[in-house]
Amino acid sequence: MSTLIGDMPQQPMADGSTIPKPIKPWKPTPKQLLPDLLGAITAVVASLIVVAITPLAGGLGLIATFFSVSIVVASTISWIRQDRKAAANSVSTIVIYFLAAFVLLPVVSIIFEIIRKGAPGLSLGIFFSDMSVTSSDAPLNEGGLLHALVGSLYVVALATVVSIPIGLLTALYLTEVNGKAAGVVRFFVQAMSGVPSIVAGLFIYAVWMISFGGTYTTAAGSMALAILMIPTVARTAEEVLKLIPTDLREAGLALGATQWKTVALVVIPAARSGLITAVILGVARVAGETAPLLLTIGGNDAMNWNPFSGNNSALPFYIWKNFGLGTETAIARAWTGIFVLMVVVMIFFTLTRILGNKKR
């Protein structure tokens, strides 16, 4: 096969001979793939037969049978063609492909179900009304989640306002000042990103409600979210600042600029899009957080425009509440809430992707 192509004359070289066509003889030819293809077909057919004639039924039975039959067929083919070593290699390859395929399943299912169950409740109306005069059991075209959307916007925006300076300062400390304690700080920022979200909520409750006698407010929820957001912003910003070449800083310092001017006028502008990505990643991290809000914002069926006073709702809270009510319409509202929440999260997710790609 390969020699045929190789012998075909192409363009002439300086000395009159010809340059052959580049080939990749290590790529399997269709003829070599034939046994693999036949093996795969055998595996599918055999699995279907086994499932049909034995009590193994349903998707799980089919997958399990397909998996076992594939392993047997592939290792047999490899063993016959080559040796035991090749058979072990085939088995591991199939196992790893199956493991990776299994990871796809839940994601595909989740997205499919969100669309299937969430889309029916969608209407323009839900973005213009709240639940203050509507019962959860009212038809889906009544009421809406405007209050939750606005609440989410408030709670996340306030958390962002708090997290940006702290996260950025932490990142600057780790990269620009790089003091003696940088290792310790980095270590604890990593540890902080593992704080369970419920603990963040409990902490704000302990500080604000118990120690200061405060009540549920949007701001309290934001503080809890900020605790979760700071490590994400700080760590991503640190990675971004690390990528700024040292010569750029030295160029600034060599011109006689102070470190402060160099950072403010050279380093931060150079890292701008990366720093924005860091913030958006933080937003995406907390936009769907539920547990801390359950302990801090109190919930509300009506609009609350004041973030510093009175209960408020948020999308995750709205989903939680309707899921907990358990009636058919309430659950439909919960799915629609999930749909809207996922769209919001995916918008931020896509933004980080676009910004991240632009940098590279």
Binding site: I19, P20, P22, I23, P25, Q32, Q82, D83, A88
Partner: protein
């Protein structure tokens, strides 16, 4: 070392070639071309490597000699954009033929790399025998094989009392000889060495050159080197590669003594006399 005069290179080389006798062709490269993506990096290389001899490939950096040696045991294909043309014959059979088991090819044609790369998670003993484990070859007399390989690699006396220490505890030169021993354990017919001494000190280099000469009695050795003294000291045949901006070409190949004393091509002469490169 660099002060050695060129004419003395020729005498070293001639002394070396008279010691050995060639026994027939072990490995043949036929009209090898290589590409990375659209870039044509090697053009029409045909070269025979005789059993029981050492062939040195010399040339300035970027002339494609490392690419060429990697084609000889199918390491070239690990670069995703790589392509090639031509044939490499081991015992008269193309190692790129359809349906061949590439792992068997690499067992028959061993390779030693620029930087010593013993497996750090394995002891010295495990390193030497790692090829058997990787290829799932079972043998009974592993201790015998272990000693034999280490002796042939010239490392036995230095490590025989600490075979259960980790490979990383050895010096750079010892690590490289450990890598040679590791290659020997799977009993290859051909040993390819890609600048095996470039990361080592002069003492270790000489030690490895001795090893290469001893090994050449039983196998075919191909060594890429940028060090002409080394080529003169260890090789029986030398191939000179050069790229004039386009793909690398084999300018001249001949017995080493001839390359260093009486090269046919002006460019070879310029290179071995140190006028460029």
């Amino acid at each position: 070392m660099s002060q050695i005069k060129v004419n003395s290179l020729a005498s070293v080389a001639s002394a070396r070639s008279s010691e050995t006798s060639s026994q027939g062709v072990g490995l043949e490269a036929r009209s090898i071309h290589a590409w990375f993506g659209q870039k044509h990096v090697l053009s029409d290389i045909s070269l025979d490597f005789y059993s029981g001899t050492v062939t040195a490939l010399i040339g300035p950096s970027g002339c494609g000699k490392s690419t060429f040696i990697r084609i000889l045991n199918r390491m070239h294909e690990f670069i995703p954009t790589a392509a090639m043309a031509g044939e490499v014959l081991l015992d008269g059979k193309d190692i790129y033929r359809s349906g061949v088991d590439v792992t068997k090819i690499r067992l028959g044609i061993g390779m030693v790399f620029q930087k010593p790369n013993p497996f750090p998670s394995m002891t010295i003993k495990e390193n030497v025998l790692s090829g058997l484990k990787l290829a799932q070859i079972k043998i009974n007399n592993s201790d015998e094989l272990l000693e034999d390989c280490l002796v042939r690699a010239g490392l036995w006396s230095e490590v025989k009392d600490r075979l259960d220490q980790y490979g990383g505890t050895l010096s750079g030169g010892q690590q490289q000889r450990l890598c040679i021993a590791r290659s020997l354990a799977v009993k290859p017919q051909v040993l390819l060495m890609d600048e095996p001494c470039s990361a080592l000190d002069p003492g270790s280099t000489l030690r490895i050159e001795e090893t290469i000469r001893e090994l050449s009695e039983t196998m075919t050795i191909v060594i890429v080197t940028h060090n002409m003294q080394q080529a003169a000291r260890v090789s029986d045949y030398t191939g000179f590669f050069l790229s004039d901006g386009g793909p690398g070409q084999l300018i001249e190949s001949a017995p080493t003594s001839q390359i260093f004393s009486n090269p046919k091509d002006k460019r070879t002469e310029d290179y071995v006399t140190g006028r460029f490169g």
